[in-house]
């Protein structure tokens, strides 16, 4: 696994281009910086300045090579590469609070923006007016939308919200696509229809992810739980409480395995067993190198006892690769079905790339099914 420290500030959000040679990230300010891989180094090639507020979400469409960004200035911009320069196009989202997250749909003809105005803006390009237009999904959302993920059929959208629920909405826009075929989540999908709403977990939903087939959705909640729901006549929910701090982001790496990361600064594996409808903990994915145990002198022991009331020799240094919370996880190779590499960025300004095969061999008892 490799780690690169980009900045001292947190990386608010990031997105990769199609061949994974360029990464667009927001260094916790109003700009988006695009870095290009240069051997082992990263060099900044573009700076996108248009937002008036912190950029909270970036997504890079692989096929059409367009970047969409959204920010706390209540706007979203679609950037297209003209020659060597990225040109922005403003998208009016008609929201009166900050935008929080943005995602291109799989076919890249729409994107969805979650915001603090308690609604989701689904935007599509109208050829006649040469302008991006948006439709709102409002009911029954009661609080900020924190995270979004599209179903592979380009119509269903999973949204995690601060009203403690994860929901699947239909974002079917008749102007840009035909009626979708029935899925495991239902067959009637008019725009804005709620296909699934979670119950049971409390806590803000920080991260949500569809599996590769779209039949399962996983979400990570602020009460330190992870849950998976499988669509069907009656959706089956399985959740797992953990002994760690809350997780902020979650993604499927195969149909049955999830990787999640959060305030504990290391990624964690979970395994879903659909026969038992149960979620289980698969293992910590960050094995710190064992530092040489130094013996403690009597003086150090006494100092520790005096300062911290304990004779523990553990230093207050994080042994994980990331030194602060991990806020976003993205798949690099292999898609959500057979992920080979994934990338995490966090509040320590660093980005780590994890290789699934080497993790599997490094950690005994780690099985990625």
């Amino acid at each position: 696994m490799s780690y690169h420290s980009f900045l001292l500030e947190p990386i608010s959000c990031h997105a990769w281009n199609k061949d994974r040679t360029q990464i667009a990230l927001c260094p916790n300010n109003h700009e988006v910086h695009i870095y290009k891989k240069d051997g082992n180094n990263w060099s900044k090639i573009h700076v996108l300045k248009e937002h008036n507020g912190q950029v909270t979400g970036i997504d890079w469409a692989p096929e059409s090579n367009r970047i969409v960004t959204c920010g706390t200035d209540r706007n979203a911009y679609v950037w297209t590469l003209k020659g060597d320069v990225w040109k922005p196009t403003l998208v009016i989202l008609r929201i009166n609070r900050a935008a929080r997250c943005v995602k291109w749909s799989p076919k890249e003809n729409k994107f969805a923006v979650g915001s603090g105005s308690r609604l989701i803006s689904v935007c599509y390009f109208e050829q006649d007016n040469d302008w991006w237009v948006c439709k709102h999904i409002k009911k029954p959302i009661r609080s900020t939308i924190l995270c979004l993920d599209w179903h592979p059929n380009n119509v269903l959208l999973a949204a995690g919200s601060c009203d403690f629920k994860c929901r699947i909405f239909s974002a079917y826009i008749k102007e840009v696509e035909e009626k979708p075929a029935p899925t495991a989540w239902g067959s009637k999908m008019p725009f804005g229809e709620v296909m699934f709403e979670s119950t049971g977990t409390s806590g803000w939903v920080h991260g949500v992810c569809f599996s590769d087939s779209g039949n399962r959705v996983a979400w990570a909640s602020h009460d330190s739980t992870v849950a998976v729901a499988e669509g069907g006549k009656t959706a089956v929910c399985a959740s797992l409480t953990s002994e760690t701090l809350p997780l902020l982001c979650v993604t499927f790496i195969t149909e049955n395995s999830l990787v999640a990361a959060g305030h504990d600064c290391y990624p964690v594996l979970f395994v879903y067993d659909s026969n038992k409808a149960a979620l289980s903990f698969g293992g910590k994915l960050d094995v710190p190198k064992q530092s040489a145990q130094k013996g403690m002198t009597a003086r150090e022991r006494f100092q520790n006892l005096d300062k911290k009331a304990t004779t523990d020799s553990k230093e207050a240094v994080l042994e994980s690769v990331h030194k602060n919370s991990i806020s976003q996880i993205s798949i690099l190779n292999g898609g959500k079905a057979q992920c080979a590499k994934f990338c995490t960025t966090g509040m320590d300004g660093g980005m780590a790339i994890w290789d699934v095969k080497s993790l599997e061999s490094a950690m005994k008892d780690l099985k990625i099914v």
Binding site: D163, S202, G203, S224, T241, L245
Partner: protein
């Protein structure tokens, strides 16, 4: 002009109640939750069977109940059980609980911290240490994020 500014009844109106964006929790039906049976717990404590008393005290938590008296009674009963444990017995008792039991125990411990009595804090801190060893930070996070609390 002096007269029409006299009425100050409007000052007693809680304007936030009328805010249409106000978040209201879904109210699940309060199931038949009477809280733990205090009489049975007393008997078990007198007999010295602390483990059973603990298990019974943690059954039927009055989570959705709208009656604060039931919640007070439940809290008092659990506190009695926790304070009558011997220090050495705390660890095996915590180990005998399942995940939900540990979370529930943590909730009662924090509620007990809110109203300290003579000896309660010391013993509750011991319970907290043992419950933390099993439940970890996650159980404490769940105490803080729980919406259906047995405290209010």
């Amino acid at each position: 002009m002096a007269k029409n500014t006299l009425s100050s009844r409007f000052r007693k109106v809680d304007i936030d109640e009328f805010d249409e964006n106000k978040f209201v929790d879904d109210h699940d039906e309060a199931a038949d939750q009477q809280g733990p049976d205090a009489v049975e717990i007393d008997n078990l404590i007198r007999q010295g069977d602390m483990m059973a008393a603990l298990h019974i005290a943690l059954r039927n938590p009055p989570i959705n109940s709208k009656n604060p008296a039931i919640k007070e009674r439940a809290q008092a009963a659990v506190l009695r059980v926790l304070t009558s444990f011997k220090s050495s017995d705390i660890e095996p008792a915590v180990k005998s609980l399942d995940k939900n039991g540990v979370d529930l125990l943590m909730k009662y411990i924090y509620k007990g911290f809110e109203r300290p009595t003579e000896n309660s804090s010391a013993i509750l801190l011991q319970w907290h240490e043992k419950a933390f060893a099993v439940g970890g930070l996650g159980s404490i996070v769940r105490v803080m994020t729980a919406r259906k609390t047995m405290t209010t």
